[in-house]
Symmetry: C2
């Protein structure tokens, strides 16, 4: 199948309307914490608060979303103020004395947990940069760049972060280069950063060289520092949705560079491999984990369908289609779009459920928790809408 | 319903036969690592090795099982030698230079991961004590007592183990007193330990006072240090199967003390509350996680059915029935026994599967991994067989 102008226009309208009339109103303005600042995002199906704790990742992500809406959609003062509230909370409470960020906070800003990773930092960079752009705030832009510099340091200085494993069997994950590519892209496309292109090149090269296995038609989640597949339960496990997210970051880069052929091939290969291995031909939807050699995956819930891989696949397939015109990608986009809006979307109360069993039945009804909040879904709806606007 | 002598004899024979002709042969002798010592236990449905890594918990547990079989069932030299192989591996490789134990090892004994908990130590105590009893090894008995002393220290000295959370919202888990009760019971009933009774009293008192909520008819998994229910997603979550395991440790103590009425009531209450909240009336089986106020549980796989809660419930219901004669417990035992042997038992290749979806379909086929090995199932079959022998 292919999409004609009419269908593309229809899709653009659908994503715009879902974003502004369904997804966003679930969260905004009711999630603003007018007492302590920041957001109250852990909500049940109907939108009632089930926990007043605050997730640091999701504070960065929602502040990014609100600032980006202000910048790209409409200059609504409440969006900018909403973004500022999250950013103030992050700056005031979420940095430890060693300069690293926490992961989980109490409502009043007391820290509950710090983790060994620096993704709190990468999402804070997104928020700061988007806000700096939206508000024209040069100081905030400087702060975003400083924090991005720290992320580069964490990623490239061995031993800087506390290790989870001994040195017996060193591994590295695709998450770090992937998320850093997106962080650098966002920084570059909001406030500009001279380091962006250089580092994006390096991280894409690392993914292509060490994680994408053309002979196996697979994108690994973890490999040895030299890029070898390690034949153990945990290291054989890969995450189709995560690699598909990586694929569209690389396709986005291909588009940014005027259709760079090598990047286009790399991004499409990653998407193709993960679609082949990740799509459930029996029940539909994208599996959470798979084993590269089809052996049992340690994570017992490996065949569940989570919301966010579907958001990433909706973006990746649409982007691949607009870049290549290959009808296969329109077909896949249609397939994942239909599955996702049929199964995850809550027609009654808005937004998406997060967690389905393999057969598509609902395993858990919360809309927000420590790991799920207003990010993957509204980002998908915004990204697809903006992308389609250019094509109709 | 109630069980007559004939049915009890039949059950005793069933558990004995399952243990010796189905469960044990899946693992033994093929899992002995004749090259590096210890066990190769990560196996797929058919018994093929899917990973040669070694789990420290499961090494202690399997060594305990083999030594206990030698002591309680039959003095087969291969069982004692098998136990020794695991114990040698634990003693030679699994202690870090600070005296604490690792969690995850490579086949050759190189450490891969150490965790913040001391359950590697408690399961090593079980193994050392059971082996000391079986082999009449006084030196090993001394080592078991020394290691148990360290466990008491870890449990009672704040700050001795690296914390996972900040001090903002202190919590404590039922796992520590529960597992230590069982460790002390095993130590007492194999090699004897003067500290046993005193500490068992304290830990049972702590569970009764801080974790068992009669007004809510619930056993909490985590509470504040003073025993309060904390109204947050993670702390509202409880684990029916875990509390049912704790219930039978306490019922075992009631039996040991000649039918102590207070302990009997406590153990039965814990079992009753968790059965009411944990049994799935629609599909059968025991849910993994629930929320004390019936709100959404953060863990998306919360309604899955794992093998081990069913092992613990089979023991707890049978023990409650033999101690009280209450027909309810015979009915429950029948219910969980039937569900479990119908759904988890692999009639073709022996042993049990570990992970079912809520509706009882199979989510993952491995028999052994970093968390599942020869422990809960063979312990259940051995315990029930031995218990029934006294009643027929």
């Amino acid at each position: 199948m292919s999409y004609d102008k009419h269908r593309l226009r229809e899709l653009a309208g659908f994503y715009k309307s879902q974003l502004l009339n369904d997804t966003l109103p679930f969260w905004f303005p009711r999630s603003l914490d007018t007492e302590h600042g920041g957001y109250l995002l852990m909500r049940d199906r109907e939108g009632r608060l089930i926990d007043d704790d605050k997730a640091v990742w999701i504070h960065g992500r929602f502040a990014w979303l609100l600032a980006t809406l202000y910048d790209q959609v409409e200059a609504r003062e409440e969006w900018l103020e909403g973004a500022k509230s999250g950013i103030d909370f992050l700056r005031k409470y979420c940095f430890d004395t060693d300069g690293r960020m926490f992961f989980h906070m109490a409502r009043n800003g007391s820290p509950i947990r710090k983790r060994r990773y620096f993704f709190s930092e990468t999402f804070a960079v997104l928020a700061l940069a988007a806000y700096a752009k939206a508000a024209g705030d040069a100081e905030m832009a400087e702060e975003a760049r400083r924090l991005f510099g720290k992320c580069i340091q964490y990623a490239t200085t061995p031993g800087m972060l506390p290790p989870k494993f001994t040195d017996t069997r060193p591994t590295k994950g695709i998450g770090v280069p992937m998320i850093l590519i997106n962080t650098a892209q966002q920084l570059r496309e909001t406030i500009g950063d001279p380091r962006g292109d250089i580092w994006i090149d390096r991280w894409i090269e690392e993914i292509a060289r060490d994680f994408v296995k053309d002979d196996l038609r697979c994108v690994m989640e973890q490999v040895s520092p030299e890029g070898q597949v390690l034949d153990h339960i945990d290291t054989r496990t890969f995450t189709p949705g995560h690699a598909i997210e990586g694929a569209w970051f690389i396709l986005h880069e291909a588009a940014y560079r005027g259709g760079d052929k090598d990047l286009l091939r790399l991004g499409c290969n990653m998407l193709d491999y993960m679609w082949e291995r990740g799509w459930d031909n029996e029940y539909g939807g994208i599996y959470y984990f798979r084993d590269v050699y089809h052996r049992p995956v340690q994570e017992y819930w490996q065949d569940m369908k989570f919301w966010w891989p579907h958001n990433e696949a909706i973006i990746a397939t649409l982007l691949a289609y607009t870049l290549t015109g290959d009808e296969k990608y329109a077909r896949w986009h249609d397939q994942v779009h239909t599955y996702a809006y049929d199964h995850f979307h809550d027609k009654q109360h808005g937004e998406w459920f997060g967690y389905l069993r393999r057969d598509g039945t609902l395993a858990q009804t919360a809309k927000g928790n420590l790991f799920k909040g207003p990010f993957h879904l509204p980002r998908q709806e915004l990204y697809c809408w903006q992308l389609l606007k250019k094509h109709v």
